[in-house]
């Protein structure tokens, strides 16, 4: 008895299961494709929304007003702020630059500041927090930590807009997880039912195989392999459709959304997510088929 021969034989029977799968097999594959496409489309939307949100969120920096006299002390505080894990960037603004900005910000009224003897602006550090997909940066906590640094006089923290973006990101994330789980369950149920129909269709054949001495593994493996192919090919088809949709929509989106936010390029999902969806499709196919095989193969 050779394990290789046995595996080859099971693969051949798996191929036969795929070929003889008929309409249920095709339907299960289609549902998997639809699932992969939906999750992928949602993830693409999320990635691009996150990019926009990051641009907006990161443009609203926290401002630290320092109570120090020397440039070296100010730079040390900047460095300490920059080292915080949820800080993306910390920029030092000299008192002179701060005054120049104040003049520019006041417009015509800024002329009143020109030549104002003795007017002295404090050292300022502009802190740009990280703005990730999960909206995990707690800006108030960051402001409190910055405030606690010795030599910091005050931290200005424009929270309102950013909080709303953070909340929206959390909502989108939660909805994405819910959608993913829902689609996964639907795919499992559909693949499981497709396999059940195959088992019922081939009940006699399976019974004969068992009567001539086939082990449960020999009978089950080809059906599970068919589930794997269902999941894998379904996910690949869905992702292929997504790639096509992305390619054809990217141009339109660029024209429609470029403007205030600069040139907007519709980003695809990250590479790991393409891989994860492909593997996920295959896993769901296997799980669906295995569940059905366990329940309905008692012949």
């Amino acid at each position: 008895m050779s394990a290789t021969a046995l595996v080859t034989s099971m693969l051949r029977h798996g191929g036969r299961s795929v070929r003889s799968g008929g309409l249920p097999f095709f339907f299960a594959m289609l549902m998997t494709a639809l699932g992969a496409f939906s999750i992928g489309a949602y993830a693409t939307l999320l990635v691009n929304f996150a990019r926009v949100a990051s641009t907006v969120g990161e443009s609203v920096a926290l401002v630290m007003f320092l109570n120090v006299d020397s440039a070296s002390a100010a730079d040390e505080l900047r460095a300490r702020a920059a080292l915080m894990p949820d800080v993306r960037e910390a920029l030092l603004v000299t008192p002179e630059d701060a005054l120049a900005r104040a003049r520019r910000g006041l417009g015509d009224a800024g002329r009143a500041l020109e030549g104002a003897a003795g007017l002295r602006m404090p050292w300022v550090v502009e802190v740009t927090p990280r703005f990730d997909l999960g909206g995990s940066t707690d800006r108030e906590a960051l402001a409190q930590r910055l405030q606690a640094l010795p030599g910091v006089d005050e931290v200005m923290h424009p929270a309102g807009e950013v909080k709303r973006i953070d909340a929206l990101m959390r909502l989108l994330h939660g909805a994405g997880v819910f959608l993913g789980v829902l689609i996964a369950l639907v795919v499992i149920v559909v693949v499981s039912n497709a396999t059940k129909l195959t088992v019922l269709q081939r009940r006699e054949e399976i019974a004969i195989m068992k009567l001539v001495g086939a082990t449960d593994l020999f009978v089950q493996t080809p059906l599970v392999l068919a589930g794997l192919v269902q999941g894998l090919v379904g996910a690949a088809l869905g992702l292929g459709a997504l790639a096509l949709a992305h390619a054809s929509l990217a141009g339109m989106v660029k024209v429609a959304l470029s403007g205030a936010l600069g040139v907007f390029i519709l980003a695809p999902m990250p590479a790991w997510l393409w891989g994860a969806l492909l593997v996920g499709g295959a896993i769901l196919g296997v799980v669906g088929a295995a569940l059905s095989v366990r329940r309905f193969l008692r012949v």
Partner: protein, 237 residues
């Protein structure tokens, strides 16, 4: 080869047992016929022997294994050493003659070349070497039965069980099937055949007669009273 001790078996919902206190021994290399009217328990007895049913009482030994204590995972192992010929052939629909026969050794994990070589060889033996690639369901009843016998013999079983192998065949074709079974027996296979075909019962072979699930007669081979005579005598009685 086969030992049954006070074996009984009852199908769920049945008002009487299919087998009732059957004690029987079939030695290695024997050719044994199970005779009796429909519903006598012949098929049930065969089904017990290849683990398609479990005894509700008593002990069943096949090749030294106690089937009552056999774990389900071990059943395929037992079946691989037994060739079974079913009354309704049980051939895979939509598959070629060769595929049907090859399946029995394929499940044992044999190499593809070996599987093909052995399947072709045994199909030639049963006179179907020229129909390897025909779909099994397109063959005549006699040919389908020969495919079923080829599938049973291809594993070179120690034990061959046949359930009414000539049931639907005319006398000439039944004789051809009998010759195949005798050939297997001559090669050392223990053969157990459930039948009520007079052509089979006419030979000089051991006949175990069942009625209502009980063994009512056990006539050894080379007995002065042939099995056919025994049958006729019982009918008169």
């Amino acid at each position: 080869m086969i030992e049954l001790f006070h074996v009984s078996m009852r199908y769920a919902g049945a008002d009487r047992p299919a087998l009732d206190d059957v004690t029987l021994e079939i030695r290695k290399g024997e050719f044994c016929l199970l005779a009796g009217p429909s519903g006598a328990g012949k098929t049930s007895l065969l089904r017990l022997l290849f683990c398609a049913e479990a005894a509700t009482g008593g002990q069943v030994f096949v090749g030294g294994r106690n089937l009552a204590r056999l774990k389900p995972a071990r059943i395929p192992e037992v079946r691989r050493n037994i060739g079974v010929v079913f009354q309704d052939f049980k051939l895979l629909p939509g598959r070629s003659v060769l595929d049907n026969v090859a399946l029995a050794i394929e499940v044992q994990g044999r190499r593809r070349e070996e599987v093909r070589e052995r399947a072709v060889g045994v199909l030639k033996q049963v006179g179907l070497g020229h129909k390897l690639h025909q779909h099994a369901e397109r063959l005549s009843g006699g040919e389908q039965q020969r495919v079923a016998i080829a599938r049973a013999l291809v594993v070179e079983p120690a034990l061959l069980l046949c359930d009414e192998p000539t049931g639907n065949l005319d006398a000439e074709r039944a004789q051809g099937i009998l010759e195949l079974l005798v050939t297997a027996h001559v090669r050392g296979t223990t053969v157990v055949v459930a039948t009520h075909d007079p052509a089979l019962l006419g030979g000089n072979r051991r006949v175990v007669r069942l009625e209502d699930g009980r063994v009512v007669a056990d006539v050894p081979a080379y007995s002065p009273m042939s099995a056919a005579l025994l049958d006729a005598a019982r009918k008169v009685a």
